[in-house]
Symmetry: C2
Subunit: 398 residues, 2 copies
């Protein structure tokens, strides 16, 4: 019989998208659905970077260099310098989204059966790339009680085996919004040195920090060989559809290995590289406006959430997500009910059940992730829906 | 010690690109290099499809659907109908280049250790995707004597084991230009039915057939579950940098599994999907002009090659490649010498040694692949160089 591969069967469906059919059905019934379930910002992509593509005079839409256009990589060096990361252009490989940077890093550094430790809850697609690469994800649990801070180093050490090759962090974190402190980053530095591990650092949300300072893994001392930065323009410039990311490391052997995977797929998309290169020339205050907008949204959504009976929601330091614990037994069922059965003034809200972000079965059952990617009015309307819904739902629960 | 994965070590460097440093050095010495080594067409990308991107009024460069924009997939249905392929839009998953379609197909259908049979010489990057997926490539040899026709079915049968899950063909073929006949396609149909194998059919060059008719794997009867079409706009519209391809199949389980890999990487590039959708509206005679141009180039390059002493070059039926056997012992060394030591009127030519396209060690040592992606004048100039070079080189050889 023609069969699907084991990895094809193991591959998890997207936990963020699995409620989509219920949302579509709700819309068909005339219900307005506020989408807080997915990290697609509503922020307009800066016009200068769209215009760069519109005004491009290319005659042949050619392959670029497999590592990305040299002109773009050279400009990225100046971007990284501004955020205190000192790299050479040939230490940057442009990837098709941050997604490909993560996949290439796993493929080049880990073999099937090797293990990668990730603080949970974590970005669910790490699971997908791990399945593609045959790599085993080993979670260490962070908890809502301390706002999802880095688990104690002893928790990492308990999970380290001879097969452990890497730790993945996302900082600031998707889905928790947590921003790692200098002390936490230093603790990670110690552990990767002690056990000789790679540190894959996903810094997609670097610019969106509302308290404290972002410490990049690339700022850490004496771990140049260990650190692999996974980056993307998607959230930074609200350019998710560009599919432009980067893998950055000073480890020459890793660069050489990743380059071979990059050559096999020929090149990253050419149009979006033009946009990405133009983004480096945005005025220095570009992020201030966006950051202020996200901060106002964060403040509002947290204020609204903690005002609801039985809801726990720490204030995250960065990114544009919060995880809230709801007074429900099963957030998966509740999120489906919101779309299938509930409405308030012909409106409802779509949330991402947090269980899909945990590697340990059974965790996160009461939690949901909310992406504050809607404007303040819409967030207020969505929170009105959620508040009413929790009241109605509490009467349904035993 | 921090180590590179085994697959990172196994990953082959691009055989097409490994001579690049010698070409760059030649250019620095003031030598003009004719690039016949790589399939980057010089044909201008049709203006209407570039204009579609230039005139797009999108405000937010959003993620698309993981399977690609529905509007694009629906239009592709009309494109496929014209070439006699009857599919529904939800049997099409848009990929980031044909590259990703090949990778997704392997990932979803084959596990590490499974085997895929490929007639050699074959597109070298199949090796790369196979290494990424842990799949073993088993070559069956096609030969220059019959113009690289499909090897006899018995040759396939000799290679089939319980681990064999698929056959990959590229039709018309890169690197040989061979166009499979109706009888050969029927032979493939029989074998995939008899042994219950997937047939991965890479039809990137479908429109470029100069004699005979293209028979798509999707035209074959009663093998709907077996056939997976890997497609791309790269060569069709000279839009290699777009990175838009497609995986097309009627096998629902394969679609479901591939969709999970597609969701993990979020979406294919948004700008290029706009271009690709506009391409469907190009006038029906668009391919006639391009095809006439390529045919004239093919006729010229074959005529020039067979006129050279000791050169064997069959006339290929499609794509824009020829493989020629040269009167040299080691085409790798010869191709390097062309760039490093040779010049004729301050010009030289870059070819791809064919050894990199064979899975069997030691084959193709005297062969090179030439991509006729330059205009007629340049092809003539490049062939002048090659003709002189062979004369000079013959005196050097023992």
């Amino acid at each position: 019989m023609l069969t699907i591969s084991n990895r094809g069967n193991l591959m998890p469906p997207s936990p963020i998208r699995k409620l989509v059919p219920y949302a579509e059905a709700a819309k068909k019934r005339g219900i307005k659905v506020y989408h807080l379930n997915i990290g697609q910002p509503d922020i307009e992509t800066p016009k200068p970077i769209l215009d760069a593509v519109r005004n491009s005079d290319l005659k042949v839409l050619e392959y670029s260099h497999s590592a990305g256009n040299e002109s773009y990589r050279r400009k990225l060096v100046t971007y990284y310098k501004v955020v205190g990361i000192d790299v050479d252009y040939n230490q940057i490989i442009i990837t098709t989204g941050g997604s490909e940077a993560i996949l290439f890093g796993m493929m080049a550094c880990l073999d099937a059966g090797d293990e990668v430790i990730i603080p949970e809850p974590f970005y669910a697609n790490y699971n997908g790339f791990a399945v593609a690469a045959g790599v085993t994800v080993v979670p260490v649990t962070s908890v809502i009680e301390n706002g999802f801070g880095l688990p104690a180093i002893e928790e990492f050490e308990k999970k380290i085996t001879p097969k452990t090759k890497a730790i993945i962090i996302c900082n600031p974190n998707n889905p928790t919004g947590y921003l790692y402190t200098k002390e936490e980053m230093e603790a990670l530095r110690q552990i990767i040195l002690k056990y000789n591990l790679y540190l894959f650092s996903d810094e997609a949300y670097r610019e969106f920090c509302y308290e404290g300072t972002h410490i990049s893994a690339m700022h850490l001392k004496d771990v140049d060989e260990n650190v692999i930065l996974m980056d993307t323009i998607s959230k930074r410039y609200s350019a998710c559809g560009g599919r432009i990311g980067a893998l950055v490391t000073k480890n020459k052997l890793v660069l050489d290995a990743v380059m071979k995977f990059a050559q096999a797929r020929l090149s990253p998309p050419s149009f979006a590289q033009i946009a990405a290169e133009a983004a480096i020339d945005l005025p220095a205050d570009y992020f201030n406006t966006t950051k202020a907008e996200y901060k106002a949204r964060r403040d509002l959504i947290v204020k609204r959430l903690v005002a609801m009976d039985g809801v726990i929601c720490p204030t995250p330091g960065g990114a544009f997500y919060v995880i809230a614990q709801l007074p429900v037994n099963n957030a998966d069922a509740f999120c489906q009910w919101l779309l299938e059965k509930f409405e308030y003034q012909q409106q409802t809200v779509m949330l991402a059940p947090a269980s899909g972000f945990y590697g340990t079965a059974g965790l996160g059952k009461q939690e949901v992730r909310l992406a504050y990617v809607l404007n303040l009015n819409d967030i207020n309307a969505a929170m009105d829906c959620l508040e009413k819904a929790l009241l109605v739902y509490s009467k349904k629960q035993p």
